[in-house]
Symmetry: C2
Subunit: 199 residues, 2 copies
DNA sequence: GTCTATACCCTGATAGAC
DNA sequence: GTCTATCAGGGTATAGAC
């Protein structure tokens, strides 16, 4: 991971943008090569297959998602932890729209080996949120029926950010994050007053 | 729409299942024909192109979604309307997982004409939810900052049901709907006590 | 309406010169 | 590491017999 040919990163960047725009199956190796001004055959000097590029992108995204939303969580009460999680998660989503889009649109484009690898990391991420919800439920801070269902409901809600955010340049990331913090906290029964309003 | 060849419906059913399973671009006309025990060329007696099959499926789904979640809304207060919307929406999602999956995974597989047609119907659906939220906000029943953001947050959350529901045979549709009613109502600041717990 | 046969193009991947 | 050239297979769609 020390020194890497610049072309390899160009391939990653082009593939990320194209996969997000058109979908994995609608993008050809010729498309990727054309986007970086190279010939199709040359890509195989850096990745052994098209599938490998997809797995590489998803893997890297999950690593950075963990670093943004899970790793820096404070070791305090569930409310503060959930709020910090939402902020980190939304920030990562807004800053990496293509990766997020690929992450949950192209899961079924993964073949057996890659799928196992990616799902394992995904499950760890979801488990971290579930743990926060369970802690809050146990302490009486949160109100909901089923932690597993609620964790998925929250992740689905937050995942939707990137589906529409790129079309809506109107709101600033901070405002969007604020809205989601309120929506999530209220969804677990915690009252929350947004510092700013509307805008 | 009166009398239609049975094969046309077989094609629809096979395409729906295959598109949902593998994605539009990963499914070939040969696959669809094979699934109904016919020859690829014969499909063109019923649909002029593969793209037409996709538009047909999405169009029909939106019509039924409207009938399930929007049309039967009571003309009462926003809280009751929102609750009824969530129940109708979740019921439709759970009963039509393949259609829902296609509806939001294959938007980008639509070509220009079909895209305009489908987006128009989609926007009308989203606008109906937005109207409920605005009414509730105006009357003081709901608490959130931005109706447009919150409408999308709710639809994203509800849309997530089908992403995982098929893997989780554990909970009954009624229980799942109950969880989502609570999550949505609480997300707009309305307290809600679920009739049943956990399970 | 369904079949067989096929046109024509694009796909992922490889071989080998430079 | 990049290029040119190419392979084998599969893609959508069409033509024409029955």
């Amino acid at each position: 991971m020390a020194e890497e040919h610049a072309t390899k990163q160009f391939i990653r960047n082009a593939a990320r943008r194209l996969f997000a725009e058109r979908g994995y199956n609608a993008v050809s190796m010729r498309d990727i090569a054309g986007a970086i001004g190279k010939q199709p055959g040359g890509i195989y000097n850096h990745f052994p297959s098209k599938q490998t590029i997809l797995v590489d992108l998803m893997e890297e995204n999950l690593t950075r998602a963990h670093a943004a939303a899970i790793a820096p969580l404070p070791d305090t009460d569930p409310v503060a932890r959930l709020e910090a999680f939402v902020r980190g998660h939304v920030k990562h989503n807004i800053e990496n729209p293509d990766d997020i889009f690929i992450a949950y649109m192209e899961l079924r484009s993964l073949e057996a080996e890659g799928a196992a690898q990616i799902m394992s990391k995904r499950n760890a991420y979801e488990a971290a949120l579930r743990a926060i919800l369970r802690d809050g439920q146990k302490s009486g801070a949160f109100t909901f029926a089923d932690p597993a269902i609620h964790a998925r409901a929250i992740l689905s809600m937050l995942g939707g950010v990137t589906v529409w955010y790129r079309d809506t340049g109107a709101q600033s990331p901070a405002v969007v994050a604020e809205n989601y913090v309120q929506a999530v906290l209220q969804s677990v029964g915690v009252p929350y007053s947004a510092p700013t309003k509307g805008q």
